[in-house]
């Protein structure tokens, strides 16, 4: 089943009277349900524009976009809000939790905007989502009392809670150190194994390696679209990183003892 189908997507920004910026010049690809795809590219390559279009935050100039079988081009503003709510889970770079609002309330938020009344017990659902990302014991913490990695995991829980067709992560590790980044990638890989389709937009090669397929963009066109057969396991890397970290600490303490 196709979760995403892009056909000849073009996006032109009108800057002033006669300056046109061609951000996307014709993008075609399909993402099957259950895939874990990284979209890479330098700044100016059009990856942010592509992400906004896939996220139904921006409209296309030309081409067709189908998300989970829905022709997004035809939708109006209110329907787009609905699509974002039901079909997409967003994970943004940096701090995108509501301040002074507990982890649980943050995760619950998309359910409160769900007009279909599909989910009868939003609280229970939000608790489940937090437990799924391993934060069952931090539910009543506010963002300023959570570490960067924990905050990003709350965001992932929030993206999950509405059972979306797709999780869309924009530089999810942008503000995190290596160990924490790998920790977050562990969560993504685990969710992907459970069958969730994930699109990861990043410019970091190290992070893209954890995906099963990499689409590289340059100047608004696809440069390369290749599957990664031997993608890395974030869980294994995390064990290694932690072991190295401990060794380093031990080394330091041994030095301290010698001295």
């Amino acid at each position: 089943m196709k979760t995403i189908e892009l056909k000849g997507i073009k996006k032109v920004y009108q800057m002033g009277a006669d300056v046109e910026v061609h951000a996307l010049r014709g993008i075609d690809f399909t993402i099957e349900t259950g895939e874990f795809v990284a979209i890479m590219g330098a700044s100016g390559s059009g990856k942010s524009t592509l992400m906004n279009i896939i996220g139904c935050l921006d409209s296309v100039t030309a081409g067709d976009y189908f998300l989970d079988g829905v022709h997004v081009n035809d939708l109006d503003k209110l329907q787009l809000a609905g699509i974002r709510n039901h079909k997409i889970g967003f994970v943004f770079q940096g701090f995108n939790l509501l301040p002074r609002t507990t982890a649980l309330e943050n995760v619950e938020l998309p359910l409160l905007y769900d007009r279909r009344g599909r989910i009868k017990e939003p609280r229970k659902k939000a608790i489940e989502a937090l437990e799924r990302v391993g934060l069952g014991d931090r539910m009543d913490h506010e963002p300023n009392r959570l570490s960067g990695g924990q905050q990003q995991r709350v965001t992932i829980a929030r993206a999950l809670v509405n059972e979306p067709a797709l999780i869309l992560a924009d530089e999810p590790t942008g503000n995190l150190d290596t160990t924490t980044s790998v920790e977050v990638m562990t969560v993504f890989q685990q969710l992907n194994r459970e069958g969730i389709t994930i699109i990861l937009v990043t410019h970091e090669q190290d992070i893209a390696r954890y995906a099963g397929r990499i689409i590289r963009l340059r100047d608004g066109l696809i440069l390369k679209d290749e599957p990664i057969k031997d993608y890395r396991s974030a869980a294994d890397d995390l064990i290694e990183l932690r072991a190295a970290g401990e060794a380093l600490e031990h080394g330091e303490s041994r030095e301290a003892t010698v001295r």
């Binding site: 996220g55 503003k77 809000a81 974002r84 995108n96 002074r100 609002t101 998309p110 905007y113």
Partner: protein
């Protein structure tokens, strides 16, 4: 999003900036507080005025001489004495809706008792005057029909006069002189206190109207007739009856103006109500201006809040909030803010009113209509002034909002 959540979010945002929120709603607090305090005091005052007016007597109708016109020149009220004893007799005979009536012939003079003297007014009245005025005696008895018939020189003293001439001693049976005419004191009136204009109603001597009319006046014209209608419902009918009789008695042609004036306590109450109405309008204007100022304060702070929370708005839009959800969220925040101001204003207004009323020894009336009015009006101010910032928030582009620093 459910109301419960929206209100919770609004409170959270307001409580996050307590000081700022308090300063923002200060305009509303002052406006609502001032109005509640002043209206409560005003209504307390007008209630006590109404009480004084109805203290004039039950269903009282006063008949005064009108103003004379000579060749189109009006000489003002009471310039021409047109109420005569004949009028009084005709009214007594021909009206059916008056249960009691009394002339009131005014005179005045120096009253002498032993070595004391006192200047006061002497009113000539009939025996049922006390009934008409809802008045009574503390000592002795009142003027009788025989006194009137015989033009006896008897006098009933007001409390003030009795106190001035006799102190604590009993004046009944004593002899006094009014001008050169000797009178015998037969009674003392109950204390009545200040009248509407602040005059001392107890500084008076009552005597049979015939005595005053023939011995101290011109024997023909009486200044005023006091009448009491049979019931409050019949007041207007009684009015018309009096007019008809007096017009006939004065031989007025159909096109002529009345040459007499009728006044009832209802008229006076209406006049007082007019004054209260003007006061209410002035208060309304004050309230309007301060609520306008308060509303602008709210609009200002809501605009700041929208800018501060652009990222939050972006996140909400991205995860599926519609523009309408954001609009409602900020509107509710503005309304909550202004309602908090309204409630604090109402409470402090009542407190202030009570304090002022205590100082000037009066009671206040807190009208629930005014309280609810103030509450809903402050809510309306929140909606009106919160709308523009909320609209602005709801129109934000999610992409720009998300990347706002």
């Amino acid at each position: 999003m459910k109301w419960k959540n929206l209100i919770k979010v609004a409170f959270k945002s307001i409580m996050k900036n307590r000081m700022r929120s308090l300063l923002t709603v200060l305009g509303i607090i002052i406006g609502v507080g001032a109005v509640i305090a002043l209206v409560s005091i005003g209504q307390g005052a007008s209630a006590s005025i109404e009480k004084q007016i109805s203290g004039l007597g039950s269903n009282l109708i006063m008949i005064f001489p009108g103003h004379a016109r000579v060749g189109g020149v009006s000489f003002g009220a009471q310039s021409h004495r047109t109420i005569t004893l004949d009028d009084f007799k005709r009214l007594e005979k021909e009206t059916t809706l008056l249960k009691a009536m009394s002339p009131m012939v005014r005179s005045g003079g120096q009253v002498i008792a032993g070595d004391k003297n006192w200047a006061t007014s002497i009113n000539g009245v009939s025996p049922n005057y006390l009934e008409i005025r809802d008045w009574g005696l503390t000592k002795g008895e009142f003027v009788t029909a025989r006194d009137v018939l015989a033009r006896r020189k008897v006098a009933v003293l007001g409390k003030t006069v009795a106190a001035e001439l006799y102190g604590d001693a009993d004046p009944v049976g004593q002899r006094i002189r009014i001008g050169n005419i000797p009178f015998q004191v037969i009674g003392v009136l109950k204390e009545r206190g200040q009248g509407m204009g602040g005059q001392d109603q107890d500084d008076v001597i009552l005597a049979p109207y015939t005595t005053v009319l023939y011995r101290m006046s011109d024997g023909k014209n009486i200044n005023t007739i006091m009448a009491s209608a049979v019931s409050t419902e019949k007041m207007n009918a009684a009015y018309e009856e009096i007019r008809k009789v007096l017009r006939e008695s004065h031989k007025l042609l159909p096109g002529d103006d009345d040459d007499f004036n009728l006044r009832s306590q209802t008229d006076i109450i209406e006049t007082a109500a007019n004054v209260t109405g003007i006061m209410t309008m002035v208060l309304g204007a004050i309230a309007g201006v301060s609520l306008l100022v308060g509303g602008i304060g709210i609009m200002n702070i809501m605009l700041v809040s929208v800018t501060e929370r652009t990222r939050e708005i972006g996140i909400r839009l991205a995860i599926g909030a519609r523009g309408g959800d954001i609009l409602v969220q900020f509107l509710i925040e503005a309304v909550t803010l202004s309602l908090i101001g309204g409630v604090i204003g109402i409470l402090s207004g009542i407190g202030l009113g009570k304090m002022i009323a205590n100082l000037i020894n009066m009671s206040i009336i807190v009208n629930p209509v005014v309280v609810f009015g103030a509450f809903f009006f402050s809510g309306a101010v929140g909606i009106f002034f919160g709308f523009y910032p909320a609209m602005k928030a709801s129109k934000l582009n999610p992409i720009d909002a998300l990347h706002y620093e």
